[in-house]
């Protein structure tokens, strides 16, 4: 009789631990917050990369103006969103031979979601597709369309209200961008700022 009570007690304890684990997991799913309060409805976040570059070994492409428009919302307590616009201007390469004739984001919107990687909030952007047409008589990629595809994870710094994308954040979030059939390096530092209902309010993710 005592054994049965012990067994039931152990099962309940196990259940309690499981519940606690799920509760922790649920609370760990980050959400968009303004002035510390969870976002209700949707908001538009606009920004431009403070710096951004994409490197295939031997050739780096930079864009002076790498803007983005992100619509965000919380769904079941988890931050989600979609990148709806990514205008790219004044893009150059580190090569005297190659110029960027055309560059453009394709297959928009790109879905995004928030997650946590080792206690750091991350934004994951999925379905990224950017087509780059290089030109230049001496450029080997002249008339060749290079397409960057994949997903990218960037760490969010709440104190600076920025998202940072680099090889470490892509690796930590299990994401990768590919061009010419291989993983490429992408560095980007993006400010996060609401532009619609929560303008000038502190944006955080937790």
């Amino acid at each position: 009789m005592r054994t049965k009570a012990t067994a039931i007690g152990a099962a309940l304890a196990a259940l309690a631990v499981l519940c606690a684990m799920f509760a922790t997991s649920a609370s760990a799913a980050p959400a968009w917050k303004f002035e510390g309060k969870s976002l209700e409805g949707t908001e538009t976040v606009l920004g431009g990369a403070i710096e951004s570059s994409m490197t295939i070994p031997g050739l780096t492409t930079k864009c002076e103006n790498f803007l983005y428009k992100l619509t965000v919302e919380n769904s079941a307590g988890t931050g989600k969103g979609s990148v709806t616009e990514v205008p790219l201007y004044n893009c150059t390469t580190n090569s005297k031979a190659c110029i960027v004739e055309k560059i453009g984001a394709e297959k928009l919107p790109w879905a995004s979601k928030l997650t946590t990687v080792s206690t750091t909030p991350y934004i994951i952007i999925e379905g990224v597709k950017v087509a780059i047409l290089y030109e230049g008589e001496e450029c080997v990629l002249g008339e060749t369309l290079v397409t960057v595809t994949g997903s990218a994870g960037g760490s969010i710094d709440n104190s600076k209200e920025t998202a940072t994308f680099n090889s470490s954040t892509l690796s930590a979030s299990g994401t990768e961008l590919k061009a010419l059939g291989q993983k490429i390096e992408w560095n980007g530092l993006f400010p996060t700022e609401a532009f619609q209902w929560h303008r000038e309010q502190a944006l955080s993710v937790s």
């Binding site: 001496e138 080997v140 008339e143 290079v146």
Partner: protein, 294 residues
Amino acid sequence: MQKHRTRVVCSALLVVALAALGLAGSAQAKLVGNYTRFAQCPYTNLEVKKCLISTTTSGEVVLGSKKVPIEKPVVLQGGTLKGVEGYAKFVAATNGITLSKAPQNVPGGLLGIVPDASSPALVKALIKFFLENSLTGVNSTLELAKPASEIVVSENNLAGEIGTALKMPVKVHLENPFLGKNCFVGSSTSPITWNLTTGETSPPAPNTKIKGSVGLAEFLEEGRILELKGAKLVDNAWSAPKAAGCGGILSFLVDPIINAQLGTTTAGHNTAILNNDIFVGSAAAVRLNNEENP
């Protein structure tokens, strides 16, 4: 008068000497550094936009039931014209060797493709002679079945791992003294057409999808040259005609034996897997390199 004539002759000689020097300078112009590999690219043709050299270092060609591993490097080189809707026509290498002839050993040798047991008496006797004289090795050499201009390259597809990256009409030359000099699978009128991809194939059954890859890309010379290391080009949806011209005057006897040995060579029964190191260069950059190094 004499003095004037001498002056004219001297001037003419000087012009000739200068012209000769100029010609010598032009002849001595050479490619240096990373550009040397494009020596056979027809870059002096201003219509040529890209130079290409692709060395197949390994892989295999499966023709029906026969698999021939690629053990000796095969080189495809030349230039490409401006692309039309993403596809550029090839221009032959300046030395005429657009596709190098590298004989590959056919496993099983002569008996592998002309088995003693199933051959008519005359063929059997001949084979016996070749076996006794150790002439049993058979080589398979890939050759272009049509002019180089029939080769088509899509750099976008090559880079994007989708669609046909390299379309090439080829024929397979089977070589052995018994087979004679004209034993081919494929011809200029009925070539084997490879639609090689770095992406995924969609072959008819019984073959199944296989994947190629663009390999490791690296830009050299500040974006003037692209190296694709370990690029895997594949096609397993091609068909091959019957072998013909094998055994010289006995081809009417030998061809059927070889074709029986090859088995079905319709689409879905053949495979080409080519592992390559590919270099693509801007022809303008190659020209400039040549001019800068007299």
